[in-house]
């Protein structure tokens, strides 16, 4: 079977969502290819986070379809979509704040391995799961912080824990919702490095305001405005696009 026939890693067709009169998604057709490095940008309120919530299943669409790996998942709950390889991070860090870094990651590992419902064997005896969690922390450079409670970490490091937790789900598609949001500029470099080092087989969709990060990492960029896709293209095309510059990159029209 050819690549195209097997379908994209993630695809939406005619995705719509409105809250009363407010349309946050206006018939969005979107393709995220396998192993892609794709960025989604747009001004505040363009519907980027709503789009993520529609894709992950946190919101139910008013119309349209969501496909993972060519299979329709529109009616499946979040947990099923995660099993099919869809993971996300949150714009505002959403971790188990009072648990340690290692526990945060281990919980996700246990869910993926399907042992999280086990009632009897103590969690500490699942050595493989704990070792895997350790390896993941090494990948984001947090192995030395493993036993610290998450809420004692610097915010930049918490963002890395977010990434480690989502990697624990062995995703095929990873949605990074503003991975560098709220991080002091000194630390955002580390986050960019971690993202650049992510395994190439994972398709990344990065929602981001930090243009540094977007233009360094992304191979394709989609621009959203008012719940719809304005334009999609390579970073060069986007940087040149007059419409994009007008609505987003903030260039004044030559008068």
């Amino acid at each position: 079977m050819s690549e195209a026939a097997r379908g994209a890693a993630l695809e939406t067709r005619g995705l719509c969502k409105s809250f009363g009169a407010l349309q946050v998604a206006n018939s969005i057709d979107f393709r995220l290819e396998r192993g892609a490095r794709h960025a989604l940008i747009g001004p505040n309120g363009a519907g980027k986070t709503s789009f993520v919530n529609l894709v992950t299943g946190a919101l139910a669409p008013s119309a349209g379809q969501v496909l993972i790996d060519g299979t329709e998942v529109t009616d499946l709950p979040q947990s099923e979509r995660v099993k099919r390889g869809l993971a996300r991070t949150f714009q505002v860090t959403a971790l188990f704040r009072r648990l340690t870094v290692l526990e945060n990651v281990a919980l996700a590992v246990c869910e993926r391995r399907g042992i999280a419902g086990g009632l009897f064997r103590p969690a500490g005896h699942h050595r493989e799961a704990i070792e895997e969690a350790h390896d993941l922390l090494e990948r984001v450079g947090l192995e030395d912080e493993a036993l610290r409670p998450v809420n004692t970490l610097a915010y930049g490091s918490q963002r890395l824990v977010e990434i480690a937790v989502s990697l624990a789900l062995s995703p095929k598609v990873l949605l990074l919702d503003e991975p560098a949001a709220g991080v002091p500029s000194g630390e955002s470099g580390t986050i960019i490095e971690v993202i650049e080092r992510l395994p190439p087989e994972i398709a990344l969709l990065i929602i981001e305001h930090d243009m540094d990060l977007v233009f360094r990492v992304a191979q394709r960029i989609t621009v959203m405005v008012q719940g719809g896709v304005l334009v999609e293209g390579t970073p060069e095309e986007i940087a040149r696009d007059r419409e994009v510059r007008r609505v987003y990159l903030g260039e004044r029209r030559p008068s």
């Binding site: 947990s79 281990a106 419902g117 009632l119 064997r121 969690a123 989502s166 624990a168």
Partner: protein
């Protein structure tokens, strides 16, 4: 359930009462074998737990609290009406509880009863401990800490909550069956709302989210109740209330929380 999964209910009297009535009705109708009666009580409570949990757990916070109240009230009313089976207002009488293993009789001094309760308590505590430290228990902590994240890592949150709701119903059923068998009496008070409230207060005093919270909260409550009612026979509830306010304001996490903080 309260401490580890963060589900607050006022409906535990429902499960407690179900356990008590199940064991009681069995014993009053010619099946007085205590251990099977105990298990039957827990099982019946678990069944009520699954069914009510399926509805109640769709909500959260205050709505959930009110719904658990509704379940308890419904059962209370049902037991009141079905007086031919439950004895209604007069309570269930004529229970014949057989000796444990056919050997140990329930004597007048309550020694057998005491040891029996102690053993069951120990087994329940051991089970609860296993559950808390299992991956399942950890995932409950995750649900309490951040539901959003639990959804995002693919946890079937609703199912987990239903399981723990059922387990805790079964535990309450054990307790109800125990008290029915050791006192050979079941009354409507077993299903009353006071009881759920009292249990909750005991837990808060002892320390929510700690395996040993109940072990210290219950005796403390009993002692307080005893002392207060000596000093002020009419107003002792007032003092319990005051104690509760003090704990919530000054000793969040109950007695155990306080001990933890002093140690640091």
């Amino acid at each position: 359930m309260l401490g580890y999964a963060g589900i607050v209910t006022l409906g535990h009297a429902a499960f407690f009462g179900t356990g008590a009535y199940t064991a009681g009705i069995l014993a009053a109708n010619g099946w007085g074998e205590p251990i099977s009666g105990l298990l039957a009580g827990a099982l019946a409570a678990a069944v009520i737990g699954v069914v009510s949990g399926f509805i109640v757990l769709r909500t959260s916070g205050l709505t959930l609290l009110m719904q658990t109240l509704v379940v308890a009230t419904l059962l209370h009313e049902a037991a009141n009406r079905a007086s031919s089976i439950t004895g209604g207002d007069d309570g269930l009488q004529g229970m014949q509880v057989w000796p444990i293993f056919g050997v140990f009789r329930f004597d007048l001094f309550g020694r057998t009863a005491y040891i029996y309760c102690f053993v069951v308590l120990f087994l329940c505590w051991w089970l609860a401990r296993r559950i808390v430290h299992s991956p399942f228990g950890r995932s409950l902590t995750g649900i309490r800490e951040n539901v959003l994240r639990m959804h995002a890592i693919g946890a079937p949150v609703m199912r987990r909550r239903l399981v723990i709701y059922t387990i805790s119903a079964a535990f309450a059923g054990f307790a109800g069956a125990l008290i029915a068998q050791t006192t050979a009496f079941v009354g409507l008070g077993f299903l009353s709302l006071d009881r759920s409230g009292t249990v909750l207060i005991m837990l808060i005093i002892g320390g929510v989210g700690r395996l040993y919270g109940a072990f210290i909260g219950v005796p403390l409550y009993m002692i307080a109740q005893d002392r207060f009612s000596e000093v002020a026979p009419v107003y002792w509830y007032f003092w319990i209330g005051l104690l509760m306010v003090l704990v919530v304001v000054f000793a969040r996490g109950g007695i155990f929380g306080l001990v933890d903080r002093l140690r640091r």
